[in-house]
């Protein structure tokens, strides 16, 4: 601080403003004497987003809205994108595909890019909610480099509607300091221990596909079942378990990290992130099976900052950027160009790449589960019980 008073009083500011408006002083004098000029240049230097799009080549606008999932992107990559293009990334986080679909059906989301899962894409295309991608704007996508098992569901009737982001599994994260060091290995154990020693310590997803699917696995039914009798069994189990749950949430890392929850229904990346920071939390798959999934980038019809959306997808699919992403979020990617750069140790990580016999038991989500009214109502009843 200087000892002289170097700010301007309100009266003085208004007087200067009037002088400026009447034209008796220049704009330069006004900005100088009020300090607004200095403030503007400091802000401009500190916040690249305020500098506007004029400096970005091709001018894609000053922002891009992305709808995605919790703990799913490296913020440093967004900062780099903003520095490169002038467009700020506005991230909205969701806990289920149903929530994303509901927003898109209601209209006016303002999203430019969103991250749907494999089994939802055909429905989005049927409902006319996403556009066939203009591949000339995504030169970083090289179809030949992507494993078709994971990139395939993005193509419908020969047209590419969505490009592969990453893939993974849905298993469970066990804090093994409460199980004498051994993680759980089956959905039967998961639901049984929740009603016994782990009462009040388990979280399940706020997501019909995985929560109902893994309850179905308790009985050995298909993860994707829409059979009314099998769903009734799953509902009975879920209602029985509900009083013993710590929470129903898709953002379970905070509770696992601070020790409130000991067991969570868990996606690969969260399992990896938790295990990296707290080795006692181990990620395992249920031996009965469960979900294998792949996620995509797609552009909703009527995206307000469409060019910026395409620029963001293209940037995130740059193999160098995508490598930083996978190292951050801990999900495997389907791009062989990225995998070629990863260490052998990483590619042998059992959290990311489970053993073949475990993988073979897994199922991809089926499109019918997204729109099936019985599963939707079952989940809603379970939550409101």
């Amino acid at each position: 601080m200087t000892d002289k008073i170097d700010y301007i009083s309100r009266e003085k500011f208004l007087a200067e403003l009037m002088r400026y408006k009447k034209g008796s002083v220049s704009r330069r004098h006004f900005l100088g004497v009020t300090g607004l000029g200095l403030a503007t240049s400091v802000l401009g230097a500190a916040l690249p987003g305020l500098r506007g799009a004029a400096r970005a080549e091709g001018s894609i606008g000053d922002r891009v809205v992305l709808a995605s999932w919790p703990n799913y992107h490296d913020p440093a990559n967004f900062d780099a994108f903003t520095a490169k293009t002038g467009a700020l990334v506005d991230l909205n986080v969701f806990g289920s595909n149903e929530e994303m679909l509901a927003k898109l059906q209601a209209g006016g989301t303002g999203w430019d890019v969103f991250v749907p899962t494999n089994y939802t894409i055909s429905t989005y295309v049927e409902l006319g909610l996403i556009e066939p991608l203009d591949m000339s704007k995504i030169p970083n996508y090289d179809a030949a480099a992507f494993d078709p098992r994971f990139a395939g569901p993005g193509t419908i009737d020969g047209k590419i509607y969505a490009v592969s982001k990453d893939w993974g599994t849905t298993g469970m994260g066990t804090n093994t300091s409460h199980t004498n060091g051994a993680p759980l290995t089956s959905w039967k154990e998961f639901w049984d221990i929740t009603r016994a020693e782990f009462s009040g310590r388990t979280t399940v997803h706020d997501y019909q596909l995985t929560t109902i699917g893994n309850a179905l696995k308790y009985y050995g039914y298909s993860f994707n079942s829409v059979d009314p009798k099998e769903l009734a069994d799953a509902e009975k189990l879920l209602l029985d378990v509900k009083p013993h749950l710590f929470a129903i949430t898709s953002d379970y890392q905070p509770a696992m990290r601070n020790g409130d929850a000991w067991l969570c229904m868990c996606w690969t990346g969260d399992g990896k992130q938790l295990n990296r920071d707290m080795p006692e939390i181990q990620y395992t798959l249920g031996k009965e099976g469960g979900e294998i999934w792949s996620d995509f980038y797609a552009v909703p019809v009527g995206a307000p900052h469409r060019d910026a959306g395409y620029a963001l997808i293209n940037d995130l699919l740059d193999p160098m950027v995508n490598m930083a992403e996978t190292l951050f979020h801990g999900q495997p990617v389907a791009d062989s160009r990225v995998n070629a750069m990863l260490s052998a140790e990483r590619l042998a990580d059992p959290i990311l790449y489970p053993a073949a016999e475990l993988l073979n038991a897994l199922e991809f989500g089926a499109a019918q589960t997204l729109t099936n009214p019985d599963r939707a109502e079952l989940m809603a009843r379970f939550k409101s019980a």
């Binding site: 509901a102 059906q105 749950l245 710590f246 949430t249 409130d260 939550k383 409101s384």
Partner: protein
């Protein structure tokens, strides 16, 4: 403009769920027949909204009394500002703070450290109640404060001069005359609480469900707009009945007390 959304909701409530979710036209009472499937949500709301309102009133009254009658004018302004300050931040942020305070590393850790065993506070009805009282307290404090502030102080002097002990003066003069403030504050808090969904979602962990949460789910997850509309219509009807009964009761009560005045 005001009633248009209500008409839409009313019409939707007789329709059906679209094939991929949303709304399909139709006419049946099926949605209303299914309301029982949300009984727990209605029950939670109809228990925690009145209890929360009562808790707010019980805590707000002494605070408002202190502010209006026991504090110098200069400090009063400062204290009133302090009551408003939390309103400057979103309830979302403040609820997050409560997640940490009530979570395993917060108050329960302190209680365990003092040797009282382990308890779970977060994701319980108690946590939701704490969030409700915290979030809605200012809405209760201000109406009560205003009614106490406007209270004719000469009435209190008169009561004392005529030999009435302070406790009795409070019960038979101050309290009855400030009841309109309590009634206004309670109405305000109660109506807002009946539609609350954010606090139960954040501090209830998806386990303490309000009708508001059931509505969010029906519109934003399971996409059953028709059933969602029926739930909303049912909630509006319940509010209409409760609020009318409440207004009748307070009016009758106020009518019986109309003689309390200096003039």
């Amino acid at each position: 403009m005001l009633v248009l959304p209500l008409i839409v909701v009313f019409v939707f409530s007789f329709g059906a769920r679209g094939p991929a979710g949303g709304y399909a036209p139709g006419f049946s009472l099926e949605n209303f027949m299914n309301l029982g499937a949300r009984w727990a949500a209605f029950k939670n709301t109809m228990v925690l909204a009145p209890v929360g309102t009562l808790a707010c009133a019980v805590i707000a009254y002494p605070l408002a009394y202190f502010l209006a009658l026991r504090v110098s004018a200069k400090r009063r302004t400062l204290l009133l500002i302090l009551v408003i300050v939390p309103f400057w931040t979103s309830i979302l942020i403040r609820s997050y703070a409560w997640i940490f305070i009530l979570g395993g590393k917060g108050i329960p850790a302190l209680i365990a450290w003092m040797g009282f065993g382990s308890i779970q506070l977060i994701n319980t009805p108690f946590a939701v109640l704490v969030g409700i009282v915290y979030g809605y307290l200012p809405l209760m404090v201000f109406p009560i404060y205003v009614s106490l502030e406007q209270l004719d102080k000469r009435l209190l002097e008169a009561s004392a001069d005529l030999g009435c002990p302070p406790g009795r003066t409070f019960l038979s003069v101050t309290l009855p005359l400030s009841m309109p403030g309590v009634a206004t504050g309670s109405m305000l808090v109660f109506i807002l609480l009946m539609g609350e969904f954010l606090i139960p979602a954040m501090l209830g962990g998806g386990k303490v469900f309000f009708v508001g949460n059931a509505l969010v789910d029906l519109f934003l997850q399971s996409r059953n707009w028709a059933f969602g509309s029926a739930v909303a219509v049912a909630l509006v009807l319940i509010m209409l009945v409760t609020v009318t009964a409440y207004m009748r009761a307070t009016r009758r009560w106020a009518g019986g007390r109309a003689d309390v005045s200096l003039m």
